[in-house]
């Protein structure tokens, strides 16, 4: 079984561990490949051109903890600006964290510098969202894919060329593309080139920041399948970031939901989608379109009012309280505005940061968002073409009341 994120908390001497240790379960699971604890990345807001002074702080990532086991995929979802990319960039040390600990295979990354960091960095690589801007337009595909090999002085020129051919084959590109330039390729092909480059040094962990968000659904599916297949073949561990819940569901063993610099819920994928416990997760799920007109006609969405508040001034108490439907439902309990809810383990390994998570489990909203319950049933494994009859098409846009 893939270890729960609480496993980090069970080791003695790890006082900063943010999660309560669960009872029972005595044998220590193998150490996770990546352990992140209390990670924070703050950006100063400066004003004035010459005598610039700091006038505020953007809390892009503000106390994030999770672990990833070897061979596992952890999905990270959340709306634009919630800190997903910043988390990833801090992990691969493109950014220096403000606080917190990142252990890769037991080694504390945040304090690593110079050659030691370079050496370790071979073992974790990154894939970027934008296949258009992440590849140097002046380099051939061969030079792009070989670049990390050269940077780390791996092999002779001939060995590198052979390795590039191998990598291109692994990502499903014909050898002839090696001599061509990025602009000659479609978005999907460029993303394949990016994947080949990320795999050049045989990394153990690959952090993919929205690798399919810029692609058409048809091409998205190609890349999702490719990433899964490469994971099997090269025993990769993934951190997979996306804002599309359905894509994350397809890729991940466990899923973390981020809101305003924090993880608000983390659970095994089936669990999170079947029984989400944070009001924000429920809202996200209910907003995701379902490719089935019959289900859509029956669903009722939770439309979150307003937009995500600025991370420069996160709301006091629970950060989600300005948009929370459950808080409204409960008659605006004071705790939501005054007490920052801690991450707690509700069921075994299901983590949630909400004072009233228990109420979510009993709500009609949760049932509707996930399709559970009878009155809104239908969100089952209904595949294509299983929605028989009813071809007479009532005005389907009038599905909600």
């Amino acid at each position: 079984m893939i270890g729960s994120p609480t496993s980090a908390a069970r080791r003695p001497g790890d006082a900063a561990a943010p999660y309560p240790a669960p009872g029972g379960a005595t044998p220590l699971p193998p150490r996770p490949l990546l352990e992140v604890s209390g990670l924070a990345v703050h950006f100063p807001i400066r004003q004035g051109l010459f005598f610039s002074r700091q006038t505020g702080t953007i809390r892009a990532v503000d106390g994030v903890s999770f672990t990833i086991d070897r061979g596992e995929t952890l999905g990270l979802v959340g709306e634009s600006g919630c800190g997903k990319s910043t988390t990833v960039r801090a992990l691969v040390r493109l950014l220096r964290p403000t606080a917190g600990s990142i252990r890769f295979d037991g080694v504390e990354l945040t304090r690593l510098e110079g050659d030691a960091l370079r050496e370790l960095r071979r073992r974790f690589q990154m894939i970027f969202q934008d296949p258009y801007s992440s590849l140097d337009p002046r380099l051939t595909v061969e030079a792009i894919v070989a670049e990390p090999l050269e940077a780390h002085g791996v092999g002779t020129a001939r060995e590198r060329a052979a390795r590039v051919a191998e990598l291109l084959d692994a990502v499903g590109l014909p050898p002839a593309v090696a001599e061509r330039y990025p602009h000659e390729f479609s978005g999907g092909q460029r993303q394949r080139i990016g994947v080949a480059r990320a795999l050049a040094l045989q990394p153990e962990l690959v952090a993919a920041d929205e690798p399919v968000s810029a692609l058409d659904v048809s091409i998205q599916a190609q890349i999702v399948n490719l990433l899964k297949q490469l994971q099997q073949r090269f025993h990769l561990t993934y951190l997979f970031v996306a804002h599309d819940l359905a894509v994350v569901r397809h890729m991940s063993d466990r899923v973390a939901v981020m809101y305003l610099g924090r993880i608000v819920e983390l659970a095994r994928a089936e669990e999170l989608y079947r029984a989400p416990l944070h009001p924000y997760t429920v809202a996200l799920l209910s907003a995701a379109p379902v490719p089935d007109p019959l289900i859509e006609a029956r669903r009722r969405r939770i439309i979150l009012s307003g937009e995500v508040p600025s991370p420069a001034a996160p709301p006091p108490g629970c950060r989600f309280h300005t948009r929370c439907w459950l808080r409204e439902r409960l008659g605006r309990p004071e705790a939501c505005e005054t007490v920052d809810p801690a991450v707690r383990s509700v069921l075994d390994g299901h983590l949630v940061a909400c004072h009233f998570a228990e109420q979510v489990g009993a709500s009609a909203e949760q049932r509707r968002a996930t399709g559970g319950g009878n009155e809104d049933a239908g969100w089952t494994d209904g595949g294509i073409g299983q929605t028989k009859g009813e071809a007479e098409n009532p005005r389907s846009r009038g599905g909600r009341d």
């Binding site: 002839a176 399948n225 379902v290 969100w379």
Partner: protein, 370 residues
Amino acid sequence: MALLALEDLTVRFRTRGGTVHAVNGVSFDLEAGETLGLVGESGCGKTATGLAMLRLLPRPAGRVEGGRVVFAGRDLLSLSEAEMRDLRGREIAMVFQDPMTSLNPVLTIGTQLIETLVAHRQLRGAAARGRAIELLEIVGIPQAARSLRRYPHQFSGGMRQRVMIAIALALAPRLLIADEPTTALDVTIQAQVLELIEELTRESGTAVILITHDLGVVAGRTQRICVMYAGFVVETATTRQLFAAPRHPYTVGLLHSIPRPQATGIGELIPIEGAPPEQLTAPSGCPFAPRCAWRIAACWVDNPALVPLTRDGTVAGEVVNTGPQATHRLACHNPASAEEARAGRPLRPGFEAAPPPTDILAVQPAGSAA
């Protein structure tokens, strides 16, 4: 008579690389108040179709090469530029994927909204301003009065899209063309924006053409769908019929490419291999043939026409163009059966996609695998 009738619309772009056959004889009708989804991968001609209707194709590259666009009884392609300008915004409005390209960055939101109202509605001064504030309130812009003085870049993507919708719906047009209005937005904001379009157009009885590459987006938001590939409509039906009984291999491929957020039953994704063609020549056979698992020998040499379909595969009775009884039409020599559509691949024992004729094989570019 339908509100809108596209008849054999053909659009070409002249580029340095050659002539792009962007839209190749697209026809469909739309009734007042109806919602139609125009779906297909990027490059398949959705935007070009929308722009051609409004006569907004980029010049000099883009040209309508043939066909008619009949809107409320008038052929738009033969109107004068002045008549067309008057009609745009007032009768037909368009919302684009990236609102920044259609909002003027140096003018405040207020100026742009009020301009529209003054130009078309003979509203002046305080009355125009009042209506502008009202419109921003309708689309949910907080502090509407103050927002009038702000510039487009001072809004987030979702808010800009709302402003676009406010401008587009300011004049209660009879037709709204929404081109990927939410593709760049988060699901939560996407839901807000689509809900808003739905609500406002329902109130005013505005017909909507919703353009997207994601069949998931149109499932709950449209009544009918046209699936486009390489500038052709390859399948069209009511939304329910299309999802319940897709027949075209491309539609089936799109449906199996969409990951589902369901708690159970996440099947494997079955992607459509390869990429759309560049359309620098008219296809000699079915344009989807190089990527199609169902193709037979005829597919390489004969591009099938879009023809009506009934349950048993034969045409029967009257053909209906619009509304809930619209006839399911298909352009395919070897459609997927119901079981195959569900499985996402051909199931006939021993069936293999017909290999390309040897002369076509010779000119297949090396990198044609996506």
